[in-house]
């Protein structure tokens, strides 16, 4: 009689990695999605309007408080959402631990750097306009 028939499913799952942070990831992905349902249509509509008038009109648009705030919120929700999404894609397709860890770190760095660059740009335009 082999030992394996007395093993519980919990024993089979143990040692294969943490299962404790999945819920947080799942909820974070969906809450940022709900924010983006509102922010993305606003962004599309506003950017199309802003691009038409050339550089001066675009700067004038960002210099207003509401567009500036909504732009930073859109950037925040987008970057958070895309970082979580890319994390899952990397975890699904990259099996080698070293390469997977390197890409996960790169993903975090790239997303956070992107948010910093957008936020600084919006602030510069907003403050530069003397608001």
């Amino acid at each position: 009689m082999s030992n394996s028939q007395f093993l519980t499913p919990a024993k089979a799952a143990r040692g294969l990695g943490s299962a404790k942070s999945g819920t947080h990831h799942h909820i974070g992905q969906r809450v940022s999605a709900i924010a983006l349902i509102f922010l993305v249509p606003w962004f599309l509509f506003s950017v199309i309007n802003a691009v038409q008038g050339g550089e001066d009109a675009a700067i004038e648009w960002i210099a207003q408080p509401l567009p500036a705030i909504l732009l930073i919120l859109t950037a925040g929700a987008t970057v958070y959402h895309m970082r979580l999404g890319m994390q899952v894609v990397i975890e699904d397709y990259i099996a080698k631990t070293g390469m997977r860890s390197a890409l996960l770190i790169l993903n975090s760095f790239a997303c956070i750097a992107l948010f910093a660059a957008i936020a600084l740009s919006v602030l510069k335009l907003w403050i530069g306009a003397g608001a």
């Binding site: 990695g17 199309i48 894609v89 631990t97």
Partner: protein, 132 residues
């Protein structure tokens, strides 16, 4: 994390080839592909705002790319990807939250709708923007 250099001995989900192809499956794959595409697209769109803050020369160069033939194609595909990921994402939220739209007929119909919405919606935005 096991710390080994090889692949972890985790269970695999069934490979794609064992399923009969259907439109809900296509929508699911497209959701992931558009998600990855939008990841890189966000860097491009962010380039517009960063160029605006950098100065007139930089913005002029970006504007030149945006309104070029290649830029227009990329922007149109970006709009399609945004609309598909948005509308299919709403469907995912309806699946996850109130458990709406799971029966096969409805799921297939919504998948077809999502493709049509993305392609026609992007075209509608295009003509609306051109008319401004």
């Amino acid at each position: 994390m096991s710390g080994s250099s090889g692949a972890d001995a985790r269970p695999l989900s069934p490979h794609l080839q064992v399923w009969r192809p259907h439109v809900t499956m296509a929508a699911s794959i497209t959701h992931r592909i558009t998600g990855v595409a939008l990841y890189f697209g966000t860097f491009l769109i962010a380039g517009w705002i960063i160029a605006l803050a950098t100065g007139a020369d930089c913005y002029g160069a970006i504007e030149g790319i945006l309104f070029s033939w290649v830029g227009s194609v990329i922007l149109y595909l970006w709009a399609v990807a945004v609309l598909f990921h948005l509308v299919n994402g709403i469907r995912h939220l309806l699946w996850d939250g109130p458990n709406i739209g799971f029966d096969p007929g409805k799921a297939s119909a919504v998948s077809v709708f999502n493709y049509a919405f993305a392609i026609l919606g992007a075209a509608a935005i295009w003509f609306a923007a051109a008319g401004l």
